[in-house]
Symmetry: C2
Subunit: 105 residues, 2 copies
DNA sequence: CGGTATCCTCAAAGATACTG
DNA sequence: CAGTATCTTTGAGGATACCG
């Protein structure tokens, strides 16, 4: 999809993705979480989608991945400081969505 | 695409759409605009996409369509008061996008 | 002037199974 | 435990032509 001239799309491209808001809220609210903790906390997500969206968030510096070379393997994900700059926007979108559902559903 | 449990997606589903941010900013900044004014102001958009996204915004009460039975036909679009409740969020997304591009592009 | 109609492409997301 | 690999489906968006 070619770019448009509006930077809102650049911001949206980073937070949209079916599971990204849920992933972000989970990490924002709960701090560092392991892969399978996220899998359990986010209802209905498959490992494929969780891995894919986490990787995109990591590539955009929103989320930090840490791997511990233990047996069994342990990997954690957490918000970066930069990622936390999305917190207010996400909260406002959340509130707007709740209000919209109340009015129109 | 089945719904997730996060209302951020409900908000995003209303403002995302490739041309919606550009349409919304144009109407927010310039007030009421005719179809072909929007077409000229928004670079690269086709009539099909403009009509489609305007209709979705109208269905969600974000934009109001007014038709004048003149010859030639005249139709205008403007933000609703409810639609204006998105203004702050759009501005924040815009600023975040600009800053993100500055940092990572 | 303000749109539709048709056809096409491609990427996002789902289902299921498998691996270091 | 933390993911990949494959295959399939769906729908957003584009191109182009036409209409009341």
């Amino acid at each position: 999809m070619k770019k448009t001239n509006c930077e809102v799309n650049d911001a949206l491209s980073i937070i949209s993705g079916k599971w990204k808001p849920a992933i972000l809220f989970t990490l924002i609210s709960n701090g560092s979480k392991r892969f399978n903790e996220l899998e359990r906390l986010i209802n209905g997500i498959t490992p494929r989608m969780l891995a894919k969206e986490l990787k995109e968030l990591e590539n955009n510096q929103i989320v930090k991945r840490t791997q511990y070379e233990t047996i069994p393997l342990k990997v954690t994900y957490e918000m970066t400081e930069y990622g936390m700059s999305l917190k207010d926007i996400l909260i406002k979108l959340h509130e707007w969505g709740i209000n919209h559902n109340r009015l129109y559903k």
